[in-house]
């Protein structure tokens, strides 16, 4: 299911072709929801990748709760290079339909 080392955005919900990608996506969804599935998800990812990797995956998710708030609260625009590089990706992911995009009308 790998794609020559690239992440396949069209298959993000299925893990995007990344090794253990589906488990990582399910893990993130479960720990964010914080419901009864979270403990199961932690155990499942620990079994698949080890306890240190489980903690690191949780840490990356937590980090992007921080970064999204910094970016959105400061009106951070996309870098010009990123705008040019991500036109297709943003279209594929449906980012143009995000609430913040609709409210701000920003293009980058």
């Amino acid at each position: 299911m790998e794609t020559d080392g690239e992440i396949d955005p069209a298959r993000l919900a299925d893990g995007a072709g990344v090794p253990h990608g589906a488990e990582l996506i399910a893990f993130v969804d479960a720990i964010i929801a914080g419901d009864d599935e979270a403990a199961t998800a932690r155990a499942r990812l620990t079994n698949a990748l080890g306890p240190e990797a489980m903690v690191d995956a949780a840490a990356v998710a937590a980090n992007f709760f921080m970064m999204t708030r910094i970016a959105d609260a400061t009106g951070t625009p996309l870098d010009e290079r990123s705008v040019a590089m991500s036109n297709d990706l943003r279209a594929d992911l449906g980012i143009e339909g995000f609430t913040s995009k609709r409210l701000t009308g920003q293009t980058g």
């Binding site: 993000l12 990582l24 969804d29 840490a59 990356v60 999204t68 009106g75 951070t76």
Partner: protein, 225 residues
Amino acid sequence: MGTILDAGLRDDLTDAHREVIDAVGRPGASWTAPERVAIAAEVRRAMERPDLPPWQTPSSTDGMVAPDHPLEAAAIDAVWRITNHPGTLTRDWYDEIVAGLTSPEHYVELVAIAAMMNGIDRLAHFLALEPIPLPAGGAGEPTGERGDDLTVSSHWVPTTGGGPQVMRALSAVPSDRATQMTLLEAQYVPPTALVGDLNWDRGTLDRRQIELVATHTSIVNECFY
């Protein structure tokens, strides 16, 4: 169930979380230590009430803010909105909030504290750990520290320096930005590896796995950036 500080996690992660809590308890550039602790406490109160919709502010809701609260209504409302509804923030909202604060630099410092508290408390929650107790907040006046040559150009907030836009977002408050960078490195990748070393990993997840988690989390948060 303990906190991250006594969970036996890798040292740099533990130290980064301790550094955030210690920094919250010290005077900042614009806010006193007790005010910074109050900002952090509001993050935790907000996280307990994700049901409050973005158009309803805690300061306008009966019984949600004590009359002797140390923070202005604008500061409390900003913390709650940033914590629970970051995808709804607009330039008009920012202008209204900053008009209720002493300066834009006060706002940037508030964002830094709110964002870092979200970063450390979410990890505690994700790992079924207790949040680290907040410090009392020491004495002393705000330092008045500012980034050099601040201008409002690319962001809503004043910024300075070069590099990726998101890395400049907190440049108005250098000390808090440094603490945030330490946390970013411990929870994600070193800043130098963001675009400089796309194969960087710490021996657990490879970079594609790291970016998959990062991307999915940002999508869940409806992050525009």
